[in-house]
Amino acid sequence: MNSFYRSFLGGRSGTVGLVVLSLLLLVVLPLSIDAFRLNMMGKYLSLAFVAIALVMCWGYGGIMSLGQGLFWGLGGYCMAAFLKLEAAANIAKEAGTDQIQALTTVGIPDFMDWNQITELPWFWYPFKSFPLTLALMIVIPTVIAYIVGVAMFKRRVGGVYFAIITQALCWAMEILFVTRQGWTGGINGITDLRTLLGWDIRTPDAQMTIYFLTCIGIIGCILFGRWLLNTKFGRLLLAVRDMEDRVRFSGYDVANIKTMVFCIAAAMSSIGGAFFVLNVGFMSPKLVTIEPSIYMVIFCAVGGRMSLIGAVYGTLIVSFGRTFFSEEFPALWYFLMGSVFILVTMVFPEGLAGAVNRFGPPLWNKIARLWRKKPPAAPAEEVKP
């Protein structure tokens, strides 16, 4: 129990931070905002999975990936493929076989039909099974990350070069998904998703449930991250980041360690992609381009690249900012975002979490002192690590 407290919850401050976040996500937001905005939160939170993954990979391991959207997208497409096949099967059932056969091929996604594909491609078959879909959602990104990791890290490609390569991969994937229309739905993506194992995911109730599931996923990822970063592996990541040669000359295979964290980050990002699809009911290659991948890094930097919880706040704040400003001042948005990123990396390399850690405790003490002097004071400011 005690070791659980220390390694999963991160001691006292870690627990406080996690409790505050959980209350915010699970209680405060659902009670205070409408269904539409809550769904938007769910959408943003599905990106926070990537930000958390980047804390481990980039903040700790020093591996900057500018193409994390690739893995996020793969997870999204896996989930979308499953939902699409289910939708296609249902349409066939509802309309009756005879009638539908004349128009489309039974049970294959509509976009395949539009592209004169009459038989389900072989690699779509596994997505008929939900357990298999879930497994592939983890396995595919992990295997790709493994191949990239081995190819790059064994050759000692790192830093900016690695970042550029991840970006190129992300771009290649986008092109692949856009051009192979009959297999992937092309530029429109996979749309019109309806049910998950017979459960209609479009109803307000279902959306609410999915929002909560997303939150639980986020909290699970934070706990997992806390545990992982608390092992010797976590300290090894810091060592690799700061003094790669020393690690090598202590008998470790640095490439393996980097590959491992890159794979873990890929799998976690992929889960986020799947939650995204559940939240919004479609998947599109436009979401998997380079731009979102860069946003993901910004989320992480703003939240604090050494803080798992900070990454969630960073994602929410930047995403809200983006939605708000890009509607109000679309032209200014990019400049604003760029300056925020530069400012954060130059002035607050530890992001929001760093600021809270620095100013939080003194503020807390001050408030506590005021409280003691005259009881009816303002409610306590939140503290998060």
Binding site: K232, F233, R235, A239, S250, Y252, N256
Partner: protein, 247 residues
């Protein structure tokens, strides 16, 4: 001549950087239990020689054997696992974690990625860390962030990190650089004590220190071995005086 059994054998070792031979046909034998010191002017190729032994730089030519095992083409971590460890010229430690954790990471247990995830801090690991910390004069600073140590303490910590693996051969590049006189004395003692039952190759400029620790001294100049022998003889060698000691 009776051919004694050597721990480390370098034969005709050469490395060329775009035609510039930083190490040029070096042949060197270090016996078991021997503490060899390499001296020589700046740019003589001393650091490069250690780079070659530990696998950081691959030789263009020549052969490296340690305890009958050929190291010439092995990757760095394999060389470490064969018992050869290296201290760098500028102290390289992990700045953001504690002294204890620095030593722990240097323990040979859990050296694979998976092994590191499931590594448990067992009593024998802790005991070894305390033992080494005591040796390197850092036993009261185990919880300090390594970044906060003084320059000399960082040098010690790095030596301690090498000791964690219980190595057979220590390669030390200027271990007393930046140390006070008192720290130098402590380090000389430390080196003498840790090199019992091990071989060591130490690069050093401080002649007083060299005299205290060396069994034998090798002088390098322009990538080649200029002279080799006991300190007393080396000091009288006119060639050595000319290129190095005379300055």
């Amino acid at each position: 001549m009776i051919y004694p059994h050597f721990a480390l054998e370098l034969e005709e070792l050469t490395v060329s950087f775009d035609g510039f031979k930083a190490v040029n046909g070096v042949t060197l034998y270090v016996a078991k239990d021997e503490l060899r010191v390499i001296i020589g002017p700046n740019g003589a190729g001393k650091t490069t020689l250690l780079d070659l032994i530990c696998g950081r730089t691959k030789p263009t030519d020549g052969k490296i054997t340690f305890m009958d095992k050929v190291l010439t083409r092995l990757p760095e971590q394999e060389i470490v696992r064969a018992g050869v460890v290296r201290k760098f010229q500028t102290p390289s430690i992990y700045p953001k974690i504690s002294v204890f954790e620095n030593l722990e990471l240097s323990h040979p247990k859990g050296r694979t990625a998976i092994g590191a995830i499931f590594f448990r801090r067992t009593p024998d690991v802790v005991e070894r860390i305390h033992m080494v910390a005591e040796q390197i004069f850092l036993k009261d600073l185990l919880n300090k962030e390594a970044e906060q140590l003084s320059h000399g303490q960082k040098q010690w910590l790095e030596i301690g990190m090498l000791l964690m693996a219980d190595p057979q051969l220590l390669l030390l590049d200027e271990p007393v650089a930046g140390m006070s006189v008192r720290e130098r004395e402590q380090t000389a003692e430390l080196l003498r004590s840790i090199c019992k039952g091990r071989s060591a190759v130490v690069i050093e400029h401080d002649m007083k220190f060299v005299r205290r620790i060396a069994d034998k001294v090798t002088v390098m100049h322009q990538g080649k071995v200029l002279a080799e022998g006991h300190m007393d003889d080396i000091e009288k060698d006119p060639r050595v005086v000319e290129v190095y000691l005379g300055h």
